[in-house]
């Protein structure tokens, strides 16, 4: 049994921070300042650990440890470098919500940290058992976060919907694992890949059914149509401060797991699953765009747009392992954008509020030019306007699909991306070209949200103008 503490270092560090946070909080009640310190230390430590993993194990140096349970490779390390800072940003954006919950705020911080470790485990898993455990750790934390404001009916509704549907999807996913296990005799991701490469299955029915069910579970997590129906309800109902991390984290972790399972474990079967993934991508893009067009709530609109974005990211995956760098580019840039967009929603409509009716945003430019400018930039980025990261991301995933001979999918994507511009632009029109209500005054922006927005805004433009360092980097973010 080959052990390497570095493999679990990020998780261990976060868990130590969580335990310290809880115990000291119970004993001395030092309050939010301590929570922030503990969380910051945990996240900084974990980020340092994944950075170390990145330095030592990316590219060809990847290896797996603990009886082939956890991999250290560029893939998992990059996922960690996205997820842990994302958790940090999510906490900063949610700080007003945490403060408003009194002593329970500590639980919120803990749940976000644990969700982040679960998400990283999903990305770093080298075994389907590990992947499942990570998935559940991540999901269960999110179920609770979605209903964190207990007294509000739309939050608890979001939590219950998310939980019930998530549990169903998990069960289907598990059934899929069982079937794949039955046909390959192993749950190791590398082992499955080796087995499928070296063996010709005479009767692949069981494996095929297993693949289908795995795909269902993963497509649910990333909210690809037709498994997306929970997303709008949950995004809209969950408290404003939660939604950002919920949406961003689920995309990063879900796509990491999906790339591992599809492109690595089932990589030899790409001809079977790629057409199905392409159809899922097309349906997600079209349905997400169409439904986003008719929304009257910003958070709900962003939820549907996230369905469309899930479709765009799936577009990269039809190229199999070759599409992984492009997938990462899109996932990473989109995750920070969506986090920031929900942060704006939580500032304008309230961190504990679920709903964010678009009427809150009319004339935002005069109430807070700063917020309006940021939201406008994010909308342009999500729409894929050149000189933002969103444009490069779209170009990258389309290129992957073209290389894989899925030109029809690219055309569907291009047409929908153009149509999608309308609903993003409508937000800008509302903010800049209509007058605000007279009684609504200036909106103060909390410090945490300000940091998040500045960081994301700078990243979005910087990566949009000079994307090549990240693109070059990502060539090493490949799975074992």
């Amino acid at each position: 049994m080959n052990m390497n503490l570095l493999a679990v270092a990020p998780e261990v560090i976060v868990v130590v921070a969580v335990v310290a946070l809880l115990m000291i909080d119970v004993q001395w009640r030092p309050g939010p300042v301590w929570w922030a310190i503990a969380a910051a230390m945990g996240i900084a430590g974990a980020t340092a650990a994944v950075a170390l993993q990145w330095v030592d194990y990316r590219g060809a140096d990847a290896a797996s440890f603990f009886s082939d349970m956890i991999a250290i490779d560029g893939f998992g390390a990059f996922a960690g470098m996205v997820i842990f800072p994302l958790a940090g940003l999510g906490l900063m954006a949610a700080w007003p919500l945490i403060r408003s919950q009194g002593g329970r705020g500590a639980e919120f911080v803990v749940l976000v940290l644990i969700a982040a470790t679960g998400a990283h485990l999903m990305a770093a898993a080298a075994n389907l058992i590990m992947l499942f455990v990570g998935l559940e750790v991540f999901s269960i934390s999110l179920y609770v976060l979605a209903g964190f404001t207990r007294e509000r009916v739309d939050a608890d509704e979001a939590a219950l919907k998310y939980f019930l549907l998530g549990a169903v999807a998990s069960a289907i996913f598990l059934y899929g694992i069982a079937l794949v296990y039955a046909s390959t005799g192993t749950t190791s991701i590398g082992g499955i890949a080796t087995y499928l490469r070296s063996t010709i299955l005479l009767r692949p029915g069981v494996l095929m059914a297993g693949m289908a069910m795995l795909l269902v579970g993963l497509a649910f997590k990333v909210s690809a149509a037709p498994f997306h129906m929970w997303a709008p309800d949950v995004y809209q109902g969950a408290p404003g401060g939660v939604t950002g991390f919920l949406a961003a984290g689920a995309k990063v972790a879900g796509f990491a797991a999906m790339a591992r399972v599809l492109a690595v474990a089932l990589g030899g079967r790409i001809d079977d699953w790629a057409p199905a993934v392409a159809v899922l991508a097309a349906v997600s893009i079209v349905l997400g765009t169409l439904l986003a067009l008719v929304q009257s709530d910003l958070k709900r609109m962003l939820a549907y747009s996230s369905v469309a974005h899930a479709g765009f990211i799936l577009t990269a995956l039809v190229a199999g392992a070759n599409g992984i760098p492009d997938m990462w580019f899109y996932v990473a840039t989109y995750a920070v954008q969506v986090l920031a967009a929900f942060t704006v929603a939580s500032v304008v409509s309230g961190a504990t509020q679920g709903r964010a009716p678009l009427s809150d945003y009319t004339g935002l430019a005069s109430r807070s030019p700063w917020l309006a400018g940021m939201l406008g930039l994010l909308m342009l980025a999500m729409a894929g306007i050149p000189l933002t990261a969103g444009f490069v991301g779209k170009a990258a995933v389309f290129r992957s699909a073209i290389d894989a001979d899925y030109l029809w999918l690219v055309i569907v994507g291009v047409v929908s991306a153009v149509a999608g511009l309308f609903f993003y632009l409508r937000v800008i029109v509302l903010m800049y070209m209509q007058a605000a209500d007279e009684e609504s005054g200036h909106i103060p922006v909390p410090g945490g949200a300000r940091v998040v927005l500045v960081a994301v805004g700078v990243l979005t433009v910087l990566i949009g103008v000079v994307p090549w360092p990240l693109l070059t980097w990502l060539r090493d973010a490949l799975p074992l």
């Binding site: 549907l165 692949p204 029915g205 649910f220 067009l293 678009l358 306007i385 291009v414």
Partner: protein, 623 residues
């Protein structure tokens, strides 16, 4: 050295817009405009110095590399400086600088004076990115940015509902064209694995079949038709006149709308392999030219006459580049930008003097009140009508001559072009007479006055260019053709007729122009005839195409949803929310009920999706 100058040409206006974005509100009024004007004039200076080598014949095309941009696409952020982009840069910055100067006077006292120049500078920078791009990706960046600036500037006075709506309309129609353009880019990349112009054009003959080249050409045409307002995507341009007049002059007459023509000329290598696509370009151009000219005849708003006239003239350019007369097309692009900018600025001067009145029925007799405007407008009027030796005559005649020379079915296009020339002369004369001649029909309290010097100086400069601009490429002195020759090295160019044919054709166009002018002069000499008959109303409303589009779009598809959403938004503060309610019932209605919000429905969605996937995989597995 040259490379630095070329980069500076973009960076100056870009820097100007950044400075104005942050400091625009604090600067005293004329200063913001002066800074903006100086940056554009500086860009013109840089471009002119950099282009000197080309004029002496010594210059070589060169690539100015900025930085790696998207290496995966074989794309750098780099500029291509060749003769065609040099010419375009000079036109854009030259005309742009004059219009900036004019705007200082025109926008005087506007609440968002600084903001206006921010946008205007940003537009120049974007347009330069477009014309200086050395690959399709950069071209697309410029393409999108000019679209964005156009949108911002059309709806600059967004307090006016019509202006806000016009901006959205322009944006939406352009997006339709962009779909074609982006798909074309994707097809190009799928075949060449690169976006670089030189790679694509050099290997085009080996890589592309005629069918693929035709497909790419037609898709590019869709994009070009959107940006250059050709049939059937022209509808946004007349509405775009809601923007401030200098914007109409700069963007919607002189520069941005010519992007489509430029793009077709740039991709001549591909169109050269696809005669059907090139022919379609020419037919679309000819049809648009005639169609828009008939509408222009019946307009009463001075700016709408010019708008339709622009569409018509762009049709000429399309006819030219479609007929592989790239030099002629680009030549007309250049001369047109001189005299059309002049016409718009003159119209702006008239509107300024008439306190915002745009209806020609309420003008008349202005020639004595506004002598400078009148004199310069007269030159532009004769230029666009095709009276030698003014600029418009040479370029238009060259296009028509080349089309005729190709013979066969092209002769029909020549006939259409000639008829359009007659109509052009007619409606321009009508406009001149209604505005400047006859008895005053001003509203009470309107006291027309000549505009300040800051506005008339650009008029004079443009008038000068409209006179001499055509002389760079006459049958006697083919300087421009010679100048552009290296650009179209690899492309088969159509030939200009020579000898007696040329004289006869030139004579025909001049006669057509004179007939047009004569008819209009007779009709409008001493009265304003009643123009409310059925045919006049039909043409005046642009054949009701807008209304039909509205109806069609309102009924179907996602475009409808978007279009409606914008329209409702424009109605007012509550409109957004109410509109979306109405929208739900109308268009989203058939899709949205899926999303009942019930847990059991969502679970059913998951299960159905799972069953579908299972079905696919089991079928693949041979079960």
């Amino acid at each position: 050295m040259t490379g630095t100058l070329v980069s500076l040409a973009i960076l100056l206006p870009l820097g100007g817009s950044v400075v104005l974005l942050f400091a625009g509100k604090r600067l005293p009024e004329p200063l913001a405009g002066v800074i903006a004007t100086l940056t554009v004039a500086g860009a013109f200076g840089c471009a002119a110095v950099a282009a000197v080598d080309f004029l002496t014949g010594a210059g070589e095309a060169l690539t100015v590399r900025w930085f790696d941009w998207m290496p995966a696409f074989g794309v750098d952020a780099s500029l291509g400086w060749d003769r065609l982009s040099a010419l375009m840069t000079l036109v854009v910055t030259g005309v742009g600088a004059l219009i900036h100067l004019y705007s200082i006077g025109y926008m005087k006292g506007d609440a968002r004076f600084g903001r206006f120049f921010t946008y205007l500078n940003l537009f120049i920078a974007s347009m330069l990115i477009l014309v200086l791009a050395d690959n399709f990706a950069m071209l697309f960046v410029g393409w999108e940015l000019v679209g964005l600036c156009s949108y911002l500037l059309i709806s600059f006075w967004f307090e006016r509902e019509t202006a806000a709506a016009a901006g959205k309309k322009a944006f939406i129609v352009n997006r339709v064209g962009d779909v074609g353009f982006i798909v074309a880019l994707m097809v190009v990349f799928a075949h060449f694995g690169s976006f670089r112009f030189d790679t694509v054009f050099e290997s085009a003959p080996e890589v592309l079949t005629t069918g693929t080249a035709t497909a790419i050409g037609l898709l590019l045409l869709v994009g070009a038709a959107g940006k250059s307002a050709q049939l059937p995507l022209y509808v946004w341009l007349p509405d775009a006149m809601e923007g401030p007049t200098p914007v109409s002059a700069l963007i919607h007459a002189a520069t941005m709308v010519t992007a489509g023509v430029y793009m077709v000329a740039r991709t001549g290598a591909i169109f050269g392999m696809a005669p059907i696509a090139a022919g379609t370009v020419a037919v679309v151009g000819a049809a648009t030219a005639l169609y828009a000219a008939t509408i222009a005849v019946a307009q009463t708003d001075i700016k709408r006459v010019l708008a339709y006239s622009t569409i018509s003239q762009l049709g000429y350019m399309f006819m030219g580049v479609g007929a592989a007369a790239y030099v002629a097309g680009v030549f007309h692009l250049m001369t047109h930008s001189f005299f059309k900018a002049l016409l718009f600025l003159g119209a702006g001067s008239v509107i300024h003097g008439m306190h915002g009145e745009q209806d020609m029925a309420k003008m008349g007799g202005l020639r004595r009140k506004m002598p400078a405007t009148f004199a310069t407008m007269t030159i532009a009027w004769l230029a666009i009508s095709g009276i030698p030796p003014l600029a418009g005559f040479w370029s238009k005649d060259e296009i028509l001559g080349t089309v005729f020379e190709r013979g066969g079915a092209w002769t029909v296009l020549w006939g259409v072009g000639l008829l359009t020339a007659l109509l052009t002369a007619f409606y321009m004369t009508r406009m001149m007479w209604l505005t400047f001649f006859g008895e005053p029909r001003w509203d009470d309290g309107v006291h027309p006055h000549e505009s300040p010097a800051v506005m008339t100086i650009p008029l004079l400069a443009l008038a000068g260019l409209s006179v001499v601009g055509g002389l760079v490429n006459t049958p006697f002195r083919t300087t421009l053709e010679h100048f552009l020759d290296p650009v179209f090295d690899a492309v088969r160019l159509a030939h200009v007729p020579t000898g007696s044919t040329a004289v006869a054709l030139a004579g025909a166009s001049v006669i057509a122009a004179l007939i047009g002018i004569g008819l209009a002069a007779l009709r409008y000499r001493d009265r304003v005839p009643d123009e409310t008959g059925f045919a006049w109303r039909l043409m005046g409303r642009g054949y009701y195409v807008d209304d039909v589009y509205g109806q069609v779009f309102a009924r179907s598809g996602k475009l409808a949803a978007a279009w409606l959403a914008f329209r409702f938004d424009a109605r007012g503060i509550d409109g957004a929310v109410e509109g979306m309610g109405a929208l739900t019932r109308k268009t989203g209605g058939w899709l949205r009920p899926i999303q009942t919000g019930f847990v059991r429905t969502s679970a059913a969605g998951v299960v159905l999706g799972a069953v579908a996937l299972l079905g696919w995989f089991l079928w693949r597995g041979g079960l």
